[in-house]
Symmetry: C2
C-alpha cells in the first residue's frame, strides 16, 4: 500500500512538472510572437509588455528547479523517472533563455520604433514564425513523449539558419548602401541572431526529448548552418585586404 | 563498515566531479584567451586550433552529465551533496556555452584576419582579459567553496557591460565614418557581444557557487548593464525618424 502510494504520488508530481514545463513553453512561444509583432507594428507599448512578462518565465524556471531538486531528494527516482527530472531541468533552462532572447528582441523593437523604417523587416517575422512552429513542435513532442516528432522539428533548424544567412547578407548590403540605415540594421542583425539562437535552444529541447524517450542522444550530426561567422568582411570597391 | 565505504566512495566521486569541472573551466579560460590572441595577431591558424579544441570541452560536459546522473541514480545524495551534483550540471552547461562563444570568436577572427585592420581592436582584449579574470575567480571560488569570492567576481560583471557599451558605440561611429569598415565592425560587435555573454555565464557560475555554499540564491539584484539593446538607432546628420 505504502509503496503504491509513493509511486502514485511521484506520478502526480511528474504530471505537475510536465504541466509546468508545458505552461512555460507556451509562454515562451507567445513572448517570441509578441516581440516580433511589436517590432513589425513599431509598437513600443506592446514591446514593454513582453519585457514585463519575462519575470513570469523566470519564476516558472525557479519553480521547476525547486520541484526537480525536491523530487531528486525525496523520491530518489531511477531510470526513466530520473531522466524525466533531469530533462525538466534542461528544458526549463532552454525555455528561460528563449524568454531572455524574446525580451532582448522587445528591447530592440522599442529602439527601432523610433528610427526610420527599414524595408528588409519582412524576413524577420518569417524567421520568427518558423522558429515558433519549431518550438511548438518540440513542446508537443515533449508532452507526447514522441521522439520522431522531436527529430523532425530538430532537423528544421537548417531552414532557420538559411533564412538567417540570407537576411544577414541583405542587411549588410543595406547598411553599405546608406549609412543612415546602420543603427537600425545592427538592431535587426542582433534580432535575427536572437531568433537564430532561439532556434538553437528549440533544437536542444528536441535533443532532450529524444534522450528522455530513448535514454541516449540523437546520432545524426547536428545541423549547423550559420555561416555568417565565417563571412569575410566585405570591403566595397574591391579593396579587400587593403 | 559498508556505510562508511559508501560515504567515502561518494566523496571520491565528488572529488572527481569537482576536478573535471575545474579542468573544463581551465580549458574554457584558455579558449577565450587563445581566441582573443588569434584575433589580435590576425592568426587564422591559431583560431583554427580553438575551433578544434571545442570538442574536448563538449566531451567534458558529456562526461560530467553522465557522472552526475549516475551519482543521482546510485548514490541518491541529499542536502549539500545533492546541491554539489546539481551545481556540477549547471556549471558544466555554462562552461560549455563559454566554449561555444570562444569558438564563435575564433571563427570571426578568421574572417577578420582577411579584411583591413580596424583600430578599435584594442578594447576587445581588454574586455577579454577582464572576463577571463572573472572566470578564473569564479572557478577558484568553486574549488574553495568560497561564496564571498563568488559574489565579488559576480559584481564585476558591471565593468564588462560598461566596456561593452563604450566599445559598441565606438564601433558604430567607425562604421558610419567609413562604410568599408562595416563588415569587420559587425564581426567585432558580435565578438564583443560574445565576450559580454561569456561574462554573463561567469556570473551564472558565481550564483551557482553561492547557492552551493548557502543553499539559497544571492539576494542582491543582478547587475544588468548592457544598454545597447535600448540604444536608439542613430541617423547621422540629424535625420532621426525621417
Amino acid at each position: 500500500m505504502t509503496a503504491e502510494h509513493i509511486v502514485k504520488s511521484f506520478d502526480d508530481e511528474l504530471k505537475l512538472l510536465n504541466r509546468t514545463i508545458a505552461q512555460m513553453g507556451g509562454l515562451s512561444e507567445v513572448q517570441l510572437q509578441t516581440a516580433t509583432d511589436a517590432l513589425m507594428r513599431r509598437d513600443a507599448e506592446l514591446a514593454g509588455k513582453v519585457i514585463q512578462a519575462d519575470k513570469r518565465i523566470d519564476e516558472l524556471e525557479h519553480q521547476i528547479g525547486e520541484m526537480a531538486v525536491r523530487m531528486l531528494a525525496l523520491r530518489q527516482p531511477m531510470a526513466s523517472d530520473l531522466r524525466e527530472v533531469v530533462a525538466a531541468l534542461k528544458i526549463s533552462a532552454d525555455l528561460e533563455r528563449i524568454g531572455d532572447y524574446a525580451t532582448n528582441i522587445a528591447k530592440r523593437a522599442i529602439a527601432i520604433s523610433q528610427a526610420q523604417p527599414v524595408s528588409t523587416l519582412q524576413a524577420i517575422p518569417r524567421m520568427g514564425q518558423l522558429v515558433q512552429s519549431i518550438i511548438k513542435d518540440v513542446l508537443d513532442a515533449y508532452v507526447d513523449k514522441n521522439a520522431e516528432r522531436a527529430v523532425a522539428a530538430w532537423s528544421r533548424d537548417e531552414e532557420v539558419d538559411s533564412l538567417y544567412n540570407s537576411l544577414f547578407r541583405e542587411l549588410l548590403t543595406y547598411m553599405m548602401e546608406d549609412p543612415r540605415n546602420i543603427g537600425s540594421c545592427i538592431h535587426l542583425m542582433f534580432i535575427a541572431k536572437n531568433i537564430e539562437r532561439i532556434g538553437d535552444h528549440a533544437t536542444n529541447i528536441a535533443e532532450t526529448v529524444y534522450f528522455l524517450v530513448h535514454g541516449r542522444g540523437i546520432e545524426i550530426a547536428r545541423p549547423k548552418g550559420d555561416v555568417t561567422s565565417y563571412a569575410i568582411a566585405p570591403t566595397p570597391g574591391g579593396r579587400a585586404g587593403a
